[in-house]
Symmetry: C2
């Protein structure tokens, strides 16, 4: 991520931050830790604030094949009770190297190894309630090994033309926000010359055009 220039003036924070008055832990498991605070807002108002702390970073990997197809995984998700097609994703302990986590998740979920890795997004997933942070990577130069999913994961895998995946996000059928953001970020990269030209051309080709 290019953080070379200083931030522009309009981004300077104004006012004072939130102040925690007290806290108690109300729940924890191996993935999350929920705390309830009494807090004072920047306006001076006092409020109860429940914060969901995450033990893992969220890592998303968009694997792109030389012919412009991408790799998605399908799985049943418990919280929403639905079946979700997503880029390969997983957690890496907070404080660990996100790239190492990305390599591991890609390998575990798809059996793919990538020769080239590019970090293309850093994000906060739901920053009014959780402290979850994440990283998005593009993986290219792919080779297929054997997958080794987590014991609770039953994953399907599909190699889909990039535009077809984008179309499903636009239709509201791919809704996982890391996946959605990464698809549109990859579109942006393809259009702005941030990917090798033959790859960008293959990704942006429409059905019926030469890929």
């Amino acid at each position: 991520m290019a953080e070379t220039k200083p931030p522009p003036e309009w981004m300077a924070p104004t006012g004072r931050g939130w102040r925690a008055l007290d806290q108690r832990e109300v729940y924890q498991n191996p993935w999350i830790r929920v705390r309830e605070y009494h807090a004072e807002a920047p306006t001076g108002a006092r409020t109860v604030y429940g914060v969901v702390g995450f033990r893992n970073l969220a890592i998303g990997v968009l694997p792109i094949l030389p012919d412009g197809r991408i790799v998605l995984v399908g799985q049943h998700r418990f919280p929403l009770g639905d079946y979700s097609w997503e880029i390969p994703e997983g957690g890496a302990p907070v404080g660990s190297d996100p790239l190492e986590g990305a390599r591991r998740e890609l390998r575990e979920e798809t059996g793919l190894e990538a020769a080239e890795w590019t970090e293309v997004l850093r994000f906060q997933l739901s920053n009014s309630v959780t402290d979850e942070r994440g990283y998005g990577f593009i993986a290219t130069g792919l080779s297929q090994e054997a997958a080794s999913p987590d014991p609770t994961e039953a994953l399907a895998m599909a190699r889909i033309p990039f535009r077809d995946a984008l179309e499903q996000a636009l239709a509201g059928r791919v809704q996982d926000l890391i996946t959605v953001a990464m698809l549109f970020r990859a579109y942006h990269m393809a259009c702005e010359g941030q990917l090798p030209e033959p790859l960008a051309k293959a990704m942006l080709a429409r059905n019926g055009e030469t890929r």
Copy 2:
């Protein structure tokens, strides 16, 4: 959102879904409800699963001015203890009309009213732990009225050239994932002829070019 065509064959779910064996509520406040389950995974493995239920939908609104600038709001966020520049966002009760929530949040946070509204994204924010769903809207035809923020909100407001906002997302300084996804979705719309041509041209203009 265009959901006209049936889903492609590759999207068909395989295997069986998760099964909840029991549940207990471990925490709740006006915004979230945390439940712990014993659950059986699609693989048959049994596990403990903590699910954070959200009482609100997440609504994000990208307001675009006729000259291609967009409107961002800046605020201190409690969970990560940082200052965050984002598109206007807020919650609308699950089951309520997302567009009504979008109009209200835009008005409360910025004092802006919009003549045209377009729903451009539907998403799940962190679907391995929470059931939070959200909607993204583009708002155009803007007129300025008086803002009326929530008593805990102290908001700054900035009108920023679209490319400058995109640059801060690329630099990792704008990290809110709804904002990040909406910026790249708007870029996609501008490039694909999904916005009026003069507006798209103004948004995509670089510094120094005529806007």
